[in-house]
């Protein structure tokens, strides 16, 4: 499907996934992500949909389906994403290509189910135990959700790993005119399960062999995973940079928060990472041209921490908490940041 449509973000995920060749979806109902499941049951004969007993089952079913050769996806929100973390680590360990959609809502815990948030950023990067190197994409419009969903599938196929597509409750339920622009698809090179004697194990391994007591095997495994994802991520270095003449402040924002940040594009430059992880080196380069860098995000300071680490200097911060995304709040926050740094 191509052309212009009025769609909500969650439907764009479903359309993008189908366009990307989705074969298998396993999920559990959760606000504000359920519409993705609802949309995908409308493709019988094309997408096999399992409504599982929980998100743990969903992610593990996706790992199984992916190893069996399917293009697999699950979709959830914070509480479910928390439950999936061990399974995401499994996906990285056995190199299962799949897409996890997290339509973020206010947390911790049950929080505010119907309100959008951006509190799962660090969980995307470090939520599972041990070392892994996920690719995470975060669009900010319904059109972009469609395209980035396809990119997420492509990145999963190329990296043979779980890729996270972040959205938020605001975008998931946002209806707007969407332009569906297609992206060429990547195909799998790995052989699907069956016909051989491979042993996929969650233990540290070298090839088919468990090496759970060999430090050098683990060091090699982690180095290989890191190199593999870094190489693939370089081909998905998506971001939006809106410079403005004379500006000395660079706003960093993504997802729903970036839509509010656009209000200030006349006075501040804006950098919007779409590839949230691995972090974009381009941001470090661009930030050098600004006296002040201010991160606006819908959490208590997650990406801000990482931006500071990336650009090696303190950054200003405007938290948008409790599902409220208000221009006035950003205005006040900016005023405070200006006072602090003058």
């Amino acid at each position: 499907m191509t052309g212009r449509l009025i769609l909500q973000g969650n439907d764009a995920v479903a359309l993008g996934a189908v366009k990307a060749g989705l074969d298998f979806f396993a999920g559990y109902p959760i606000t504000p992500a359920s519409e993705i499941l609802h949309a995908l049951v409308e493709y019988p004969g094309q997408v096999k949909v399992l409504q599982m007993e929980d998100e743990i089952a969903s992610i593990n079913a996706c790992v199984g389906a992916a190893l069996a050769g399917a293009k697999a996806m699950t979709a959830t929100s914070g509480p479910g994403f928390s439950l999936m973390q061990e399974g995401i680590g499994l996906g990285h360990m056995v190199e299962a290509p799949l897409v996890i959609v997290d339509v973020q809502r206010v947390g911790p815990s049950t929080g505010m189910p119907t309100f959008g948030a951006q509190g799962d950023l660090l969980q995307c990067r470090w939520g599972s135990h041990g070392d892994y190197f996920p690719i995470v994409l975060y669009p900010n419009s319904v059109s972009e959700i469609y395209t980035q969903t396809i990119h997420a599938f492509n990145a999963a196929e190329e990296s043979m790993s779980p890729v996270v597509l972040l959205t938020d409750g605001c975008l998931g339920h946002l209806f707007e005119t969407a332009e569906l622009v297609d992206v060429p698809l990547k195909t799998r090179t790995a052989r699907p399960l069956g016909g051989g004697s491979r042993h996929f194990t969650s233990l540290t391994h070298a090839g088919d062999h468990p090496k759970a007591t060999v430090p050098s095997a683990h060091q090699e495994l982690i180095a290989a995973l890191a190199a593999k994802t870094a190489g693939v991520a370089a081909r998905y270095a998506f971001y939006e940079y809106l410079p403005v003449k004379g500006a000395d402040t660079l706003l960093v924002a993504f997802g729903a928060a970036s839509r509010a940040a656009y209000h200030f594009k006349g006075e501040c430059a804006i950098f919007r990472p779409i590839r949230i992880f691995p972090m974009l080196e381009e941001l470090a380069e661009i930030a050098r041209g600004y006296r002040r860098v201010v991160v606006i995000e819908m959490n208590a300071g997650q990406y801000k921490l990482l931006v500071e680490a990336l650009i090696h200097r303190p950054v200003g911060f405007i938290p948008l908490l409790g599902g409220a995304v208000r221009v006035s709040q950003i205005e006040e926050g900016l005023k405070k940041c200006l006072q602090e740094s003058t």
């Binding site: 389906a65 992916a66 399960l193 004697s197």
Partner: protein
């Protein structure tokens, strides 16, 4: 033996303790594959974590050794994506009836065409001998020093509630185990073979059994084979249910 072609002798000796029942179940399953002439290229093994979960590594088949408790959903993903594959699960009592019990119940409801080989030794053996979901009442373990007070999970009741295939055997009654495995593998739909097995090192010794042989002799006395197919197996009965 024809079963050899399904195994990887080069991976021996096995990872398990002396006298462990897991090796016996591996051999019987390979035997059942041979008896049924199963296509190795079309058969996939899946397991979670625990001693029993190491079994797939000894088969010359494609296999997935996943997360603790999650063999069933991994297998459901495989089977749903590729219905032409025979998917067989190896699981232990902790894996299937403890951490993964939710998945067992729901896969049974969905009647996914899977064969689950449950190796039930009534103990968490790998982690040193803690009480498991199937440890009998009153039994002393590392974590029930005054005797277990938790009632054991009734696996038969859980899967028969949805009309799934259920059979029970022991590692003493190997011909019956073979028959149960063959019946489960040819059953279309969700099938569980519940195998009472021995953990001589981390359980039997605490119970006062000198070795694995004594534990098998105990199974011989404690379990009574039931002929034909029955609606339900009573306590201490082994056999195949309808």
């Amino acid at each position: 033996m024809p079963a050899r072609k399904y195994l990887r002798p080069e991976r021996l000796p096995t990872y398990w303790c002396p006298g462990c029942g897991d090796g016996l179940v591996v051999k019987e399953l390979a035997g059942a594959f041979g008896d049924l002439g199963m296509d190795a290229s079309n058969t996939v093994l899946v397991s979670g974590i625990g001693c029993a979960a190491r079994a797939p590594g000894y088969f010359l088949l494609e296999s997935v050794h996943g997360l603790h408790g999650r063999a069933v959903p991994i297998a459901e993903g495989i089977k749903t994506a590729r219905p032409e594959l025979n998917v067989v699960i190896f699981s232990g009592d902790g894996d299937l009836l403890g951490i993964g019990c939710n998945h067992l119940v729901h896969a049974s409801r969905r009647d996914t065409d899977l064969t689950v080989v449950l190796i039930d030794n009534q103990i968490y053996g790998m982690t040193g001998g803690q009480k498991s979901p199937t440890t009998a009442l009153g039994v002393k373990t590392l974590t029930s020093p005054d005797g277990n007070t938790d009632r054991p999970v009734d696996c038969q009741a859980l899967v028969k509630a949805h009309g799934s295939f259920y059979a029970r055997a022991t590692t003493f009654h190997l011909p019956l185990l073979g028959k149960a495995l063959r019946a489960a593998l040819t059953h279309r739909g969700f099938a569980v073979v519940d195998v009472r097995s021995q953990c001589p090192v981390n359980f039997g010794k605490r119970l006062g059994f000198k070795n694995a042989y004594e534990m098998l002799m105990h199974f011989k006395k404690a379990y009574r084979p039931v002929a034909g197919e029955v609606d339900r197996l009573g306590p201490g009965e082994i056999g195949i249910t309808r």
